[in-house]
């Protein structure tokens, strides 16, 4: 797909530069002449939206770090002074805090797009796994960032999440002590989380470069899930993909702006405006919305499984729910990529999507709340079962028993057939 370069330097300085560092050629090949399948739909603009969000988070974050103090005695107040005293501080902080949520909304659309159209299948396995790594790094960055305001949810979220490690036999307790730098979450924890929160976005940017590199080696997938075979199947990235990306980035910005300017605290939690108190746990601890499905899976395992006690079981299930994504390219045995041509897969996929939303809801309620006549924890067990069954049973088996619909010969053929109707 990458093909040979079509860049020709025209100016004298362009030629001089080209002979010494062909970075303009690299950018031209990446963002101008790069051939993209001509049938990409709007879901394919979320990669661009994510790139923009990463830049927004880094820019707002660097500015916030100029006013924030990572000391447990003053951290909470420094965030309040950003809100009240720093010029435009309220805007920059709301952009950053809501930006994290927008980043996750975009990454979930991006992931589900990949799940539906089989973007993880050969030859895109490495591309997909790099994406899973970015997602993991995003979760770590988001978690550590949420600790920095040093509110009640920050403190207790940090306590609960670092305690996950104590579930490991023998090494768990020393690992937890090493991570938090004390016998409980305290100033040492806050300082290192600040340091790492500043570092991780740049690691993410590095892996994004690999992700885009891998994408440009294997080429983009598309809604039909068949490879682009000839020039008729593709259009140049600029102006076609760039203009479409810009349109959807603007629409996404409007959505983002609505939260920032009208509902800036809707996605947060009021308890985080109470300063951290090591003596009092809030009555109802919930993580940020983007972690809720995994939180539901953690709480669903309240029983021992053989030698694995419920605590370790819950932690393993939660991390397993993310780790299983990395094995997806080999778990899905179907030769057909796009869900469009897979009638049974389609049903299982949409059920998986609904189930993920339901898990998110279950993560937000108390385990003994009654939902539709049963305790939330009972539903969480069923939902957790389906989550894993989708990856470990349904996808491996479907490849053998499902009869896919016939695939079009080429992208161009499919488009011509459609316009002939």
């Amino acid at each position: 797909m990458s093909g040979h370069s079509t860049y020709v330097p025209k100016t004298a300085i362009g030629k001089w530069f080209e002979a010494r560092l062909p970075v303009v050629r690299l950018l031209h090949d990446t963002a101008v002449s790069y051939p993209t399948p001509r049938n990409l739909n709007a879901l394919w603009t979320f990669g661009g939206i994510l790139a923009m969000m990463l830049v927004v988070q880094i820019v707002t974050g660097v500015v916030l770090a100029m006013h924030y103090a990572a000391d447990s005695r003053v951290a909470f107040h420094s965030v309040e002074s950003i809100m009240r005293d720093v010029n435009w501080g309220w805007l920059i902080r709301y952009l950053h805090a809501n930006g994290a949520s927008m980043f996750f909304i975009a990454v979930y659309v991006h992931i589900f797009r990949g799940l539906y159209y089989g973007s993880y299948k050969p030859p895109r396995e490495i591309l997909w796994i790099l994406g899973v790594i970015i997602y993991l790094l995003m979760m770590a960055a988001a978690f550590m960032g949420y600790v920095l305001p040093w509110g009640q949810m920050s403190f207790w979220g940090a306590t609960v999440i670092t305690n996950f490690f104590t579930a490991l036999p023998f090494v768990g307790q020393p690992i937890q002590t090493l991570l938090i730098g004390g016998f409980s979450v305290d100033n040492a924890t806050l300082n290192r989380f600040f340091s790492l929160h500043y570092l991780l976005p740049f690691l993410i940017a590095g892996v994004v470069v690999l992700h885009v590199w891998a994408l440009h080696v294997v080429g983009q997938n598309n809604p039909l899930g068949i490879e682009a075979k000839s020039d008729k199947d593709t259009v140049p990235f600029t102006p076609y993909a760039t203009s479409k990306d810009v349109l959807w980035i603007v629409l996404f910005m409007i959505f983002y702006g609505w939260f920032v300017f009208y509902q800036p605290n809707f996605l947060g939690h009021p308890d985080n405006y109470i300063e951290a108190n090591p003596l009092s746990t809030p009555a109802h601890i919930v993580p940020e919305w983007y972690f809720l499905p995994f939180y539901a899976i953690l709480r669903a395992i309240d029983f021992n499984i053989g030698p694995i006690d419920s605590k370790l079981g819950g932690v393993l299930a939660m991390f397993g729910a993310i780790a299983v994504l990395a094995f997806l390219p080999w778990l899905d045995t179907s030769k057909v990529r796009s869900g469009r041509f897979r009638p049974i897969f389609k049903v299982a996929f949409w059920l998986f999507g609904l189930n993920a939303l339901f898990l998110g809801f279950l993560g937000s309620v108390k385990t003994d709340d009654i939902i539709l006549g049963a305790q939330a924890v009972v539903w969480a067990k069923l939902s957790t079962f389906y989550y894993f069954a989708y990856f470990l049973v349904i996808l491996p088996v479907l490849g053998y028993i499902e009869k896919p619909k016939p695939l079009p010969i080429s992208i161009n053929d499919a488009i011509l057939a459609k316009s002939a109707h």
């Binding site: 207790w156 306590t159 609960v160 670092t162 305690n163 996950f164 104590t166 002590t177 090493l178 991570l179 730098g181 004390g182 016998f183 409980s184 305290d186 040492a188 290192r192 090591p278 003596l279 009092s280 746990t281 809030p282 009555a283 109802h284 601890i285 709480r299 309240d302 006690d309 419920s310 605590k311 819950g314 108390k366 385990t367 003994d368």
Partner: protein, 187 residues
């Protein structure tokens, strides 16, 4: 160089390569260790700060919570009813059969006597940090009249033993000693 394709004796060069490689690995590990160990608790945190508490004012049915090593420690003067409830529980009903008492033998069973202060069955001193994921359980709540953790619903009885929910162990009892009849030193 012509002999290099036959499996010959190790040469001086091989020896130098392996020795240098091994030395390098040890060097990297030695250099890495300070960067890992710096994350562990520092000297001020590690200093075994002990706390002295006067419990003369704590009436039956009352409890005080103090901080020790950054963690809350509850000292509860239990009512007769609470002690009775703690004693009547059969040991086989307990999820965690061990006392988890730093002042007793590690294999001591979780009887009420092994959990309470020696010779003062009404006094219970324990770290009030849920053994599930580290939240602070609420006093005098939960269906066993002891402690209830609001995070993930673990229920402890009047002797701080885990009875229900995801927590795996009884609430731990820190090392402590009575300095006088009403004065306790924790740590």
């Amino acid at each position: 160089m012509a002999e290099s394709d036959t499996p010959a004796e190790p040469t001086r060069r091989d020896f130098l390569l392996h020795a240098a490689g091994a030395f390098g690995v040890v060097g990297v590990a030695a250099a890495a260790w300070p960067f890992i160990d710096q994350m562990n608790p520092d000297a001020s945190t590690r200093a075994l700060a002990s706390v002295e508490v006067d419990i003369a004012a704590v009436q039956p049915g009352q409890a005080i919570t103090i901080m020790w090593r950054g963690k809350p420690v509850v000292i509860r003067n239990r009512t007769e009813k609470e002690v009775e409830e703690g004693k009547t529980v059969k040991l086989e009903e307990l999820k965690d059969p061990l006392a988890r008492n730093a002042n007793a033998d590690a294999s001591a069973d979780a009887s009420d006597a092994n959990r309470a202060a020696a010779g003062k069955e009404n006094i219970l001193v324990m770290t009030k940090v849920c053994t599930h994921l580290g939240c602070i359980p609420l006093d005098e709540s939960g269906e066993f009249g002891g402690w209830f953790c609001p995070c993930h619903g673990s229920v402890y009885d009047t002797a701080g033993r885990i009875r229900k929910g995801p927590a795996p162990e009884n609430l731990p009892i820190p090392p402590y000693a009575f300095l006088s009849d009403t004065k306790i030193r924790i740590g």
